[in-house]
């Protein structure tokens, strides 16, 4: 099927705070999608729900027609904002771990990327700098042949060269059957890579459109439009 993600009336509250409200979203395969919104707008909540880390209060969500669960986790590759690998592991052990649990993990690809970055696989993760750890995580996540990649703030707090590397990795790993969701608040740096953008404001979906369509219609960059829509 061509729709990889389908959200209907998705709502999630935390106590008295509403993180997501009545979100209806349909994403197709083969697209690179920007999930854009300020901090606290609900982007991370949505991504956690896609990955089965949160259960929505009402509404439904389907990944390739499946509810979040063991089967959906097999085809979704998630890069969270934080470092989530055990510190004591060596890089090579982290690779074995991914290989063990994910059938779509391509070990050779991972080692190729490591090699190109001159990263020593025998190093323990705790000896690496934060930036390097993040790169290792990105490599692991992108070495899977998943149907849906969820990257949560992959370029925040990263130097420009690393940012280029990350975008380059995303582009060269592009697969027309897979969709990449990039959640970020740094838009100018990535707009040229995106097919479509989704604006989330205070838990609600306010826009979902192709990038080029917006530029043609509005005659401005996504970044400019974003500043307008989210003006404080």
């Amino acid at each position: 099927m061509s729709v990889i993600l389908e959200c209907k009336s998705l709502t999630k509250k935390f106590g008295s705070t509403t993180a997501l409200f009545n979100v209806n979203l349909s994403l197709e395969r083969g697209k690179i999608i920007g999930l854009l919104g300020p901090n606290g707008s609900g982007k991370t909540t949505l991504i956690k729900i896609i990955n089965g880390l949160l259960v929505p209060d009402t509404g439904s969500i389907k990944i390739a027609g499946m509810n979040p669960g063991v089967e959906s986790k097999k085809i979704v590759s998630y890069l969270p904002e934080k470092t989530y690998l055990p510190d004591w592991m060596k890089v090579s052990e982290a690779i074995s771990f991914f290989k063990d649990f994910y059938g779509d993990f391509e070990e050779k690809r991972a080692y190729d990327m490591l090699h190109r970055l001159n990263l020593d696989p025998t190093k323990r993760l705790k000896t690496l700098s934060k930036g390097t750890k993040e790169k290792v995580q990105l490599i692991l996540v992108m070495s899977r042949r998943a149907n849906l990649y969820c990257l949560d703030e992959p370029i925040g707090g990263v130097d420009p060269a690393a940012r280029d590397y990350i975008l380059n990795t995303i582009i060269t790993n592009y697969d027309e059957n897979a969709t990449v969701i990039i959640s970020t608040h740094l838009i100018a740096d990535i707009e040229n890579v995106l097919d479509e953008v989704v604006f989330i404001k205070e838990g609600s979906l306010v826009l979902h459109a192709p990038v080029d369509e917006i530029r043609e219609k509005e005659g401005k960059s996504i970044d400019s439009l974003f500043r307008e829509v989210f003006r404080c």
Binding site: L54, K73, Y78, Y84, P86, W88
Partner: protein, 282 residues
């Protein structure tokens, strides 16, 4: 998947436990070496004393650290940042719990064996062994006379109780951590509070049950012995008191086991439910 999780769990925890247990056994060997040497000159005497102290500490450490690591491992791997990794693996939450439960149980049992082995190393002189043998024979005779020739069943029940008790301890820790996780803030304090609360509630439950039991005029005291025929001793009185012991034991240990198993099931189900429906990693 469960096998993979278990393997990984063993590896992740083994890197702490194996060195720990090895050090313990090494210290026992060293101490044994020292004691066979006999009288020593001054500097060596201090060293020997030091070794003895280190050994005693290591016994305590082994048992305490085993317990602490079981707690920390569960918390760190599932409830902190690593949880983002574990809960997005294509596995069921129950499998995550099972892997940790199995491995924690194994280390717990192993720690007991390690301590026992180390004691054997320290005290295993032929003289001591003979004395131990004698004690063992005495115990067996005592058991036979009190419980009849089917006393091995009692021992089996006792071992089962220890196993179930270990699982019970582990699951109580797990469910406390899971309940603490439900809070938005102060999750750790919440876990401690949950642990204390659960302990208290269960103790109250047990007291109530015992109260009811002993007040009901159950004719347990007129039971015929469960474990086959008693060795007749003298007269009805002795048979009577022997029955009490047997009956109570027949009831208390099995009851204890069943109650613990029910608690374990409850702890497990609650933990699993929280992971499935109420997960909220930060």
């Amino acid at each position: 998947m469960l096998a993979k999780l278990t393997k990984h769990e063993l590896y992740a925890t083994g890197r702490i436990f194996l060195p720990l247990y090895s050090i313990m056994l090494l210290l026992s060997l060293i101490n044994r070496g020292f004691s066979s040497i006999g009288e020593l000159s001054s500097p060596f005497k201090t060293l020997k004393g030091f070794m003895v102290a280190a050994y005693v500490i290591s016994i305590v450490a082994t048992l305490v650290i085993t317990f602490v690591i079981i707690i920390l491992r569960f918390y760190k791997n599932l409830m902190s940042d690593e949880g983002y990794l574990m809960f997005t693996l294509p596995v069921k939450p129950s499998q995550l719990i099972n892997a940790k439960l199995i491995v924690s149980f194994l280390w717990n049992i192993l720690s007991i064996f390690v301590v026992a082995t180390s004691l054997f190393i320290i005290l295993g002189t032929s003289k001591n062994l003979e004395m131990f043998r004698g004690l063992l024979d005495l115990a067996v005779t005592g058991l036979k006379s009190t419980f009849g020739s089917s006393y091995p069943i009692l021992i089996a029940e006792y071992i089962i109780m220890i196993f179930v008790g270990t699982i019970y301890q582990i699951l109580m820790i797990y469910v406390s951590i899971a309940i603490g996780h439900l809070l938005n803030e102060h999750k750790v304090i919440g876990s401690f509070a949950a642990y204390i609360a659960i302990n208290t509630i269960i103790q109250m439950l047990v007291s109530i049950i015992v109260l009811i039991w002993t007040n009901l005029e159950l004719s347990i005291f007129t039971y015929t012995p469960y474990y086959g025929t008693t060795e007749t001793i003298t007269g009805n009185n002795v048979n009577y008191s022997v029955s009490i012991v047997q009956a109570i034991t027949k009831q208390i240990i099995p009851f204890s086991i069943i109650f613990s198993v029910l608690c374990c099931v409850a702890f497990y189900l609650v933990t699993n439910y929280i992971f499935k429906k109420k997960l909220n990693l930060n």
